[in-house]
Subunit: 138 residues, 3 copies
Amino acid sequence: MKSYRKELWFEIPRRRGLVNITPEVSAALKESGVREGLCLVNAMHITASVFINDDEPGLHADFERWLEKLAPEKPYSHYAHNGAEDNADAHLKRTIMGREVVVAVTGGKLDFGPWEQIFYYELDGLRRKRALVKIIGE
Amino acid sequence: MKSYRKELWFEIPRRRGLVNITPEVSAALKESGVREGLCLVNAMHITASVFINDDEPGLHADFERWLEKLAPEKPYSHYAHNGAEDNADAHLKRTIMGREVVVAVTGGKLDFGPWEQIFYYELDGLRRKRALVKIIGE
Amino acid sequence: MKSYRKELWFEIPRRRGLVNITPEVSAALKESGVREGLCLVNAMHITASVFINDDEPGLHADFERWLEKLAPEKPYSHYAHNGAEDNADAHLKRTIMGREVVVAVTGGKLDFGPWEQIFYYELDGLRRKRALVKIIGE
Protein backbone atom coordinates (compact mmCIF):
# COMPACT_ATOMS: atom_id res chain seq x y z
CA MET A 1 0.00 0.00 0.00
CA LYS A 2 1.23 3.48 -0.90
CA SER A 3 0.38 6.60 1.05
CA TYR A 4 0.98 10.26 0.29
CA ARG A 5 0.47 13.46 2.27
CA LYS A 6 0.48 17.08 1.20
CA GLU A 7 -0.60 20.35 2.78
CA LEU A 8 -2.22 23.12 0.75
CA TRP A 9 -1.79 26.62 2.21
CA PHE A 10 -4.09 29.61 1.83
CA GLU A 11 -4.18 33.22 2.90
CA ILE A 12 -7.53 34.68 1.92
CA PRO A 13 -7.43 38.52 2.13
CA ARG A 14 -11.06 38.72 3.32
CA ARG A 15 -13.17 37.08 6.03
CA ARG A 16 -14.67 34.64 3.53
CA GLY A 17 -13.64 33.27 0.14
CA LEU A 18 -13.77 30.21 -2.12
CA VAL A 19 -10.84 28.58 -3.90
CA ASN A 20 -11.14 25.79 -6.49
CA ILE A 21 -8.41 23.37 -5.38
CA THR A 22 -9.13 20.60 -7.91
CA PRO A 23 -5.87 21.27 -9.84
CA GLU A 24 -3.79 21.13 -6.64
CA VAL A 25 -5.46 17.89 -5.51
CA SER A 26 -5.00 16.35 -8.97
CA ALA A 27 -1.32 17.34 -8.87
CA ALA A 28 -0.93 15.72 -5.45
CA LEU A 29 -2.53 12.56 -6.81
CA LYS A 30 -0.05 12.47 -9.69
CA GLU A 31 2.84 12.95 -7.25
CA SER A 32 1.54 10.07 -5.11
CA GLY A 33 1.73 7.51 -7.89
CA VAL A 34 -1.50 5.95 -6.57
CA ARG A 35 -3.67 4.40 -9.34
CA GLU A 36 -6.47 2.83 -7.26
CA GLY A 37 -7.45 4.06 -3.81
CA LEU A 38 -9.04 6.85 -1.81
CA CYS A 39 -8.15 10.53 -1.53
CA LEU A 40 -9.13 12.45 1.60
CA VAL A 41 -9.10 16.26 1.49
CA ASN A 42 -9.97 18.09 4.72
CA ALA A 43 -9.72 21.54 6.21
CA MET A 44 -7.18 21.47 9.06
CA HIS A 45 -9.00 24.39 10.70
CA ILE A 46 -12.42 24.33 12.29
CA THR A 47 -13.57 27.57 10.67
CA ALA A 48 -13.04 26.41 7.09
CA SER A 49 -14.58 23.80 4.83
CA VAL A 50 -13.59 21.49 2.00
CA PHE A 51 -16.56 20.52 -0.17
CA ILE A 52 -17.51 19.43 -3.68
CA ASN A 53 -19.90 21.32 -5.90
CA ASP A 54 -20.12 23.35 -9.10
CA ASP A 55 -17.59 26.02 -10.14
CA GLU A 56 -20.25 28.61 -10.96
CA PRO A 57 -20.02 32.15 -9.53
CA GLY A 58 -23.81 32.56 -9.20
CA LEU A 59 -23.96 29.44 -7.04
CA HIS A 60 -21.08 30.68 -4.90
CA ALA A 61 -22.96 33.94 -4.30
CA ASP A 62 -26.02 31.84 -3.34
CA PHE A 63 -23.91 29.87 -0.84
CA GLU A 64 -22.74 33.14 0.74
CA ARG A 65 -26.24 34.55 1.14
CA TRP A 66 -27.71 31.23 2.28
CA LEU A 67 -25.05 30.57 4.93
CA GLU A 68 -25.46 34.11 6.22
CA LYS A 69 -29.19 33.43 6.63
CA LEU A 70 -28.71 30.06 8.39
CA ALA A 71 -25.85 31.24 10.63
CA PRO A 72 -25.54 35.04 10.64
CA GLU A 73 -22.17 36.61 11.41
CA LYS A 74 -23.73 39.40 13.51
CA PRO A 75 -24.60 40.44 16.11
CA TYR A 76 -21.42 38.90 17.52
CA SER A 77 -23.01 38.97 20.97
CA HIS A 78 -25.59 36.44 19.77
CA TYR A 79 -23.08 33.61 20.28
CA ALA A 80 -21.65 32.25 23.53
CA HIS A 81 -18.42 31.38 21.69
CA ASN A 82 -17.72 35.02 20.89
CA GLY A 83 -16.00 37.47 23.22
CA ALA A 84 -12.26 36.98 22.80
CA GLU A 85 -13.29 35.68 19.33
CA ASP A 86 -15.88 36.85 16.80
CA ASN A 87 -16.01 33.74 14.60
CA ALA A 88 -18.79 31.57 16.06
CA ASP A 89 -20.71 31.92 12.79
CA ALA A 90 -17.71 30.47 10.91
CA HIS A 91 -17.85 27.29 13.04
CA LEU A 92 -21.55 26.91 12.21
CA LYS A 93 -21.20 27.74 8.52
CA ARG A 94 -18.43 25.17 8.18
CA THR A 95 -20.68 22.59 9.86
CA ILE A 96 -23.24 23.10 7.06
CA MET A 97 -20.61 22.93 4.30
CA GLY A 98 -18.63 20.03 5.80
CA ARG A 99 -15.04 19.48 6.91
CA GLU A 100 -13.87 16.96 4.34
CA VAL A 101 -14.41 15.05 1.14
CA VAL A 102 -13.34 11.53 0.25
CA VAL A 103 -12.82 10.98 -3.48
CA ALA A 104 -12.34 7.67 -5.29
CA VAL A 105 -9.08 7.27 -7.21
CA THR A 106 -9.44 5.17 -10.38
CA GLY A 107 -6.82 4.72 -13.08
CA GLY A 108 -4.65 7.37 -11.42
CA LYS A 109 -7.36 10.06 -11.60
CA LEU A 110 -9.96 11.65 -9.32
CA ASP A 111 -13.06 9.61 -10.19
CA PHE A 112 -15.50 12.47 -10.68
CA GLY A 113 -18.89 13.03 -12.24
CA PRO A 114 -19.19 15.69 -14.95
CA TRP A 115 -19.33 18.82 -12.77
CA GLU A 116 -17.62 17.85 -9.52
CA GLN A 117 -14.95 20.30 -8.34
CA ILE A 118 -13.25 20.51 -4.94
CA PHE A 119 -13.30 23.81 -3.05
CA TYR A 120 -11.61 25.24 0.00
CA TYR A 121 -14.11 27.58 1.66
CA GLU A 122 -12.48 30.08 3.99
CA LEU A 123 -14.99 31.31 6.58
CA ASP A 124 -12.63 33.21 8.90
CA GLY A 125 -9.75 34.40 6.81
CA LEU A 126 -7.08 37.13 6.86
CA ARG A 127 -4.47 34.62 8.05
CA ARG A 128 -2.53 31.59 6.80
CA LYS A 129 -4.50 28.34 7.01
CA ARG A 130 -4.22 24.82 5.61
CA ALA A 131 -6.02 21.90 4.02
CA LEU A 132 -4.66 18.35 4.07
CA VAL A 133 -4.55 15.88 1.19
CA LYS A 134 -4.00 12.24 2.19
CA ILE A 135 -4.02 9.52 -0.46
CA ILE A 136 -3.81 5.78 0.13
CA GLY A 137 -3.91 2.94 -2.35
CA GLU A 138 -1.74 1.23 -4.93
CA MET B 1 -4.82 -4.39 -1.58
CA LYS B 2 -7.97 -4.98 -3.59
CA SER B 3 -10.10 -2.26 -5.12
CA TYR B 4 -13.49 -2.36 -6.78
CA ARG B 5 -15.58 0.24 -8.60
CA LYS B 6 -19.22 0.21 -9.62
CA GLU B 7 -21.67 2.82 -10.86
CA LEU B 8 -25.31 2.79 -9.81
CA TRP B 9 -27.68 4.49 -12.26
CA PHE B 10 -31.01 6.20 -11.52
CA GLU B 11 -33.75 7.94 -13.46
CA ILE B 12 -36.20 9.41 -10.98
CA PRO B 13 -39.46 10.40 -12.73
CA ARG B 14 -39.93 13.45 -10.49
CA ARG B 15 -37.83 16.42 -9.39
CA ARG B 16 -37.06 14.76 -6.04
CA GLY B 17 -37.08 11.19 -4.75
CA LEU B 18 -35.36 8.79 -2.35
CA VAL B 19 -34.01 5.33 -3.19
CA ASN B 20 -32.71 2.84 -0.62
CA ILE B 21 -29.50 1.58 -2.26
CA THR B 22 -28.30 -0.63 0.60
CA PRO B 23 -28.98 -3.86 -1.36
CA GLU B 24 -27.03 -2.59 -4.39
CA VAL B 25 -24.08 -1.48 -2.24
CA SER B 26 -24.09 -4.83 -0.40
CA ALA B 27 -24.10 -6.63 -3.75
CA ALA B 28 -21.13 -4.53 -4.94
CA LEU B 29 -19.28 -5.41 -1.74
CA LYS B 30 -19.87 -9.13 -2.34
CA GLU B 31 -18.62 -8.76 -5.93
CA SER B 32 -15.49 -6.98 -4.68
CA GLY B 33 -14.34 -9.87 -2.49
CA VAL B 34 -13.14 -7.34 0.10
CA ARG B 35 -13.41 -8.60 3.70
CA GLU B 36 -11.79 -5.73 5.63
CA GLY B 37 -11.65 -2.17 4.34
CA LEU B 38 -13.62 0.96 3.51
CA CYS B 39 -16.54 1.50 1.15
CA LEU B 40 -17.12 4.98 -0.29
CA VAL B 41 -20.51 5.75 -1.85
CA ASN B 42 -20.96 9.19 -3.40
CA ALA B 43 -23.31 11.02 -5.71
CA MET B 44 -21.49 11.79 -8.98
CA HIS B 45 -23.78 14.80 -9.50
CA ILE B 46 -23.82 17.99 -7.51
CA THR B 47 -27.61 18.12 -7.22
CA ALA B 48 -27.98 14.72 -5.54
CA SER B 49 -26.96 13.24 -2.19
CA VAL B 50 -25.91 9.91 -0.74
CA PHE B 51 -26.64 9.70 2.98
CA ILE B 52 -27.36 7.23 5.79
CA ASN B 53 -30.50 7.29 7.89
CA ASP B 54 -33.67 5.35 8.67
CA ASP B 55 -35.88 3.70 6.03
CA GLU B 56 -39.10 5.18 7.40
CA PRO B 57 -41.58 6.99 5.11
CA GLY B 58 -42.64 9.50 7.77
CA LEU B 59 -39.02 10.58 8.23
CA HIS B 60 -38.56 10.89 4.47
CA ALA B 61 -41.60 13.19 4.32
CA ASP B 62 -40.04 15.22 7.16
CA PHE B 63 -36.78 15.53 5.19
CA GLU B 64 -38.74 16.85 2.19
CA ARG B 65 -40.59 19.48 4.19
CA TRP B 66 -37.52 20.47 6.20
CA LEU B 67 -35.22 20.88 3.19
CA GLU B 68 -37.89 22.94 1.45
CA LYS B 69 -37.97 25.23 4.49
CA LEU B 70 -34.16 25.56 4.73
CA ALA B 71 -33.61 25.96 0.96
CA PRO B 72 -36.89 26.66 -0.88
CA GLU B 73 -37.18 25.71 -4.53
CA LYS B 74 -39.11 28.88 -5.40
CA PRO B 75 -39.12 31.67 -6.32
CA TYR B 76 -36.47 30.60 -8.84
CA SER B 77 -35.42 34.25 -9.18
CA HIS B 78 -34.28 34.19 -5.54
CA TYR B 79 -31.02 32.50 -6.58
CA ALA B 80 -28.15 33.95 -8.61
CA HIS B 81 -27.43 30.45 -9.97
CA ASN B 82 -30.82 30.25 -11.68
CA GLY B 83 -31.60 31.65 -15.11
CA ALA B 84 -30.51 29.05 -17.63
CA GLU B 85 -31.05 26.61 -14.74
CA ASP B 86 -33.72 26.38 -12.03
CA ASN B 87 -31.93 24.02 -9.65
CA ALA B 88 -30.04 26.26 -7.20
CA ASP B 89 -32.16 24.86 -4.37
CA ALA B 90 -30.99 21.34 -5.26
CA HIS B 91 -27.34 22.36 -4.79
CA LEU B 92 -28.17 23.76 -1.34
CA LYS B 93 -30.37 20.84 -0.29
CA ARG B 94 -27.63 18.40 -1.26
CA THR B 95 -25.17 20.40 0.84
CA ILE B 96 -27.37 19.80 3.90
CA MET B 97 -27.78 16.08 3.15
CA GLY B 98 -24.15 15.47 2.13
CA ARG B 99 -22.40 14.16 -0.97
CA GLU B 100 -21.01 10.89 0.32
CA VAL B 101 -20.79 8.24 3.00
CA VAL B 102 -17.83 6.11 4.03
CA VAL B 103 -18.79 2.75 5.53
CA ALA B 104 -16.53 0.30 7.34
CA VAL B 105 -16.26 -3.18 5.82
CA THR B 106 -15.82 -5.94 8.42
CA GLY B 107 -15.97 -9.67 7.75
CA GLY B 108 -17.14 -9.03 4.18
CA LYS B 109 -20.18 -6.98 5.29
CA LEU B 110 -21.19 -3.33 5.64
CA ASP B 111 -20.45 -2.70 9.32
CA PHE B 112 -23.72 -1.04 10.28
CA GLY B 113 -25.64 -0.22 13.42
CA PRO B 114 -29.20 -1.54 13.78
CA TRP B 115 -31.05 0.98 11.59
CA GLU B 116 -28.45 2.34 9.18
CA GLN B 117 -29.51 2.29 5.53
CA ILE B 118 -27.89 4.05 2.55
CA PHE B 119 -30.02 6.31 0.36
CA TYR B 120 -29.62 8.07 -2.96
CA TYR B 121 -31.53 11.35 -2.72
CA GLU B 122 -32.38 12.82 -6.10
CA LEU B 123 -32.95 16.57 -5.80
CA ASP B 124 -33.12 17.49 -9.49
CA GLY B 125 -34.39 14.46 -11.33
CA LEU B 126 -36.17 13.61 -14.58
CA ARG B 127 -32.86 12.47 -16.12
CA ARG B 128 -30.30 9.68 -15.83
CA LYS B 129 -27.79 10.22 -13.02
CA ARG B 130 -25.23 8.14 -11.14
CA ALA B 131 -23.74 7.25 -7.78
CA LEU B 132 -20.28 5.71 -7.40
CA VAL B 133 -19.29 2.80 -5.16
CA LYS B 134 -15.55 2.44 -4.52
CA ILE B 135 -14.28 -0.25 -2.18
CA ILE B 136 -10.71 -0.77 -1.05
CA GLY B 137 -9.26 -3.33 1.35
CA GLU B 138 -8.36 -6.99 1.50
CA MET C 1 -2.70 -3.88 4.77
CA LYS C 2 -3.69 -3.78 8.43
CA SER C 3 -7.22 -3.14 9.65
CA TYR C 4 -8.57 -2.52 13.11
CA ARG C 5 -12.10 -2.16 14.50
CA LYS C 6 -13.31 -0.88 17.84
CA GLU C 7 -16.68 0.15 19.24
CA LEU C 8 -17.03 3.06 21.66
CA TRP C 9 -20.10 2.88 23.94
CA PHE C 10 -22.03 5.75 25.50
CA GLU C 11 -24.97 6.20 27.82
CA ILE C 12 -25.79 9.90 28.01
CA PRO C 13 -28.13 10.61 30.95
CA ARG C 14 -29.98 13.34 29.03
CA ARG C 15 -31.65 13.69 25.64
CA ARG C 16 -28.61 15.49 24.23
CA GLY C 17 -24.94 15.69 25.13
CA LEU C 18 -21.43 16.05 23.70
CA VAL C 19 -18.43 13.83 24.45
CA ASN C 20 -14.87 14.55 23.29
CA ILE C 21 -13.73 11.11 22.05
CA THR C 22 -10.32 12.16 20.71
CA PRO C 23 -8.45 10.28 23.48
CA GLU C 24 -10.41 7.06 22.78
CA VAL C 25 -9.83 7.31 19.03
CA SER C 26 -6.11 8.01 19.59
CA ALA C 27 -5.93 4.96 21.87
CA ALA C 28 -7.61 2.80 19.20
CA LEU C 29 -5.08 4.05 16.65
CA LYS C 30 -2.21 3.08 18.94
CA GLU C 31 -3.75 -0.39 19.42
CA SER C 32 -4.08 -0.79 15.65
CA GLY C 33 -0.37 -0.38 14.97
CA VAL C 34 -1.23 1.55 11.79
CA ARG C 35 1.33 4.26 10.92
CA GLU C 36 -0.04 5.49 7.55
CA GLY C 37 -3.67 5.19 6.54
CA LEU C 38 -7.21 6.40 7.17
CA CYS C 39 -9.33 6.33 10.30
CA LEU C 40 -13.13 6.34 9.98
CA VAL C 41 -15.21 7.24 13.04
CA ASN C 42 -19.00 7.07 12.66
CA ALA C 43 -22.10 7.02 14.80
CA MET C 44 -23.75 3.58 14.52
CA HIS C 45 -27.12 5.17 15.30
CA ILE C 46 -29.10 7.51 13.09
CA THR C 47 -29.94 9.93 15.90
CA ALA C 48 -26.33 10.68 16.85
CA SER C 49 -23.40 12.39 15.15
CA VAL C 50 -19.62 12.17 15.05
CA PHE C 51 -18.03 15.46 14.02
CA ILE C 52 -14.86 17.51 14.34
CA ASN C 53 -14.73 20.98 15.84
CA ASP C 54 -13.39 22.96 18.80
CA ASP C 55 -13.56 21.78 22.43
CA GLU C 56 -15.00 25.06 23.72
CA PRO C 57 -18.10 25.08 25.95
CA GLY C 58 -19.43 28.36 24.55
CA LEU C 59 -19.39 26.89 21.04
CA HIS C 60 -21.13 23.75 22.26
CA ALA C 61 -23.90 25.90 23.76
CA ASP C 62 -24.13 27.70 20.40
CA PHE C 63 -24.51 24.35 18.59
CA GLU C 64 -27.37 23.41 20.94
CA ARG C 65 -29.26 26.64 20.41
CA TRP C 66 -28.60 26.70 16.66
CA LEU C 67 -29.71 23.11 16.05
CA GLU C 68 -32.84 23.74 18.08
CA LYS C 69 -33.60 26.71 15.79
CA LEU C 70 -32.95 24.78 12.56
CA ALA C 71 -34.77 21.59 13.66
CA PRO C 72 -36.88 22.18 16.78
CA GLU C 73 -37.64 19.25 19.07
CA LYS C 74 -41.23 20.40 19.67
CA PRO C 75 -44.08 20.32 18.93
CA TYR C 76 -43.60 16.58 18.41
CA SER C 77 -46.71 16.55 16.23
CA HIS C 78 -44.88 18.75 13.71
CA TYR C 79 -43.10 15.69 12.30
CA ALA C 80 -44.58 12.76 10.36
CA HIS C 81 -41.89 10.48 11.86
CA ASN C 82 -43.20 11.04 15.38
CA GLY C 83 -46.05 9.12 16.97
CA ALA C 84 -44.60 5.88 18.32
CA GLU C 85 -41.36 7.92 18.47
CA ASP C 86 -40.59 11.52 19.46
CA ASN C 87 -37.12 11.85 17.95
CA ALA C 88 -37.66 13.19 14.41
CA ASP C 89 -35.70 16.32 15.38
CA ALA C 90 -32.72 14.13 16.34
CA HIS C 91 -32.61 12.64 12.81
CA LEU C 92 -32.57 16.16 11.32
CA LYS C 93 -30.05 17.57 13.80
CA ARG C 94 -27.70 14.67 13.11
CA THR C 95 -28.03 15.38 9.37
CA ILE C 96 -26.71 18.91 9.97
CA MET C 97 -23.84 17.71 12.20
CA GLY C 98 -22.91 14.68 10.06
CA ARG C 99 -22.66 10.92 10.62
CA GLU C 100 -18.93 10.40 10.30
CA VAL C 101 -15.43 11.77 10.02
CA VAL C 102 -12.46 10.40 8.11
CA VAL C 103 -9.10 11.36 9.58
CA ALA C 104 -5.68 10.93 8.00
CA VAL C 105 -3.19 8.78 9.92
CA THR C 106 0.42 9.94 9.56
CA GLY C 107 3.40 8.65 11.53
CA GLY C 108 1.05 6.66 13.79
CA LYS C 109 -0.95 9.75 14.84
CA LEU C 110 -4.25 11.43 13.95
CA ASP C 111 -3.08 14.06 11.45
CA PHE C 112 -4.88 17.07 12.90
CA GLY C 113 -4.73 20.83 12.63
CA PRO C 114 -4.19 22.85 15.82
CA TRP C 115 -7.75 22.76 17.22
CA GLU C 116 -9.38 19.68 15.71
CA GLN C 117 -11.10 17.41 18.22
CA ILE C 118 -13.53 14.54 17.56
CA PHE C 119 -16.92 14.55 19.28
CA TYR C 120 -19.77 12.12 19.73
CA TYR C 121 -22.97 14.16 19.77
CA GLU C 122 -25.88 12.33 21.36
CA LEU C 123 -29.18 13.74 20.11
CA ASP C 124 -31.57 11.14 21.53
CA GLY C 125 -29.98 9.74 24.65
CA LEU C 126 -30.99 8.00 27.87
CA ARG C 127 -29.88 4.63 26.44
CA ARG C 128 -26.73 2.76 25.45
CA LYS C 129 -25.46 3.66 21.98
CA ARG C 130 -22.27 3.19 19.97
CA ALA C 131 -19.74 4.76 17.64
CA LEU C 132 -17.46 2.74 15.38
CA VAL C 133 -13.74 3.26 14.80
CA LYS C 134 -12.32 1.54 11.71
CA ILE C 135 -8.68 2.03 10.78
CA ILE C 136 -6.96 0.74 7.65
CA GLY C 137 -3.37 1.20 6.50
CA GLU C 138 0.12 -0.02 7.23
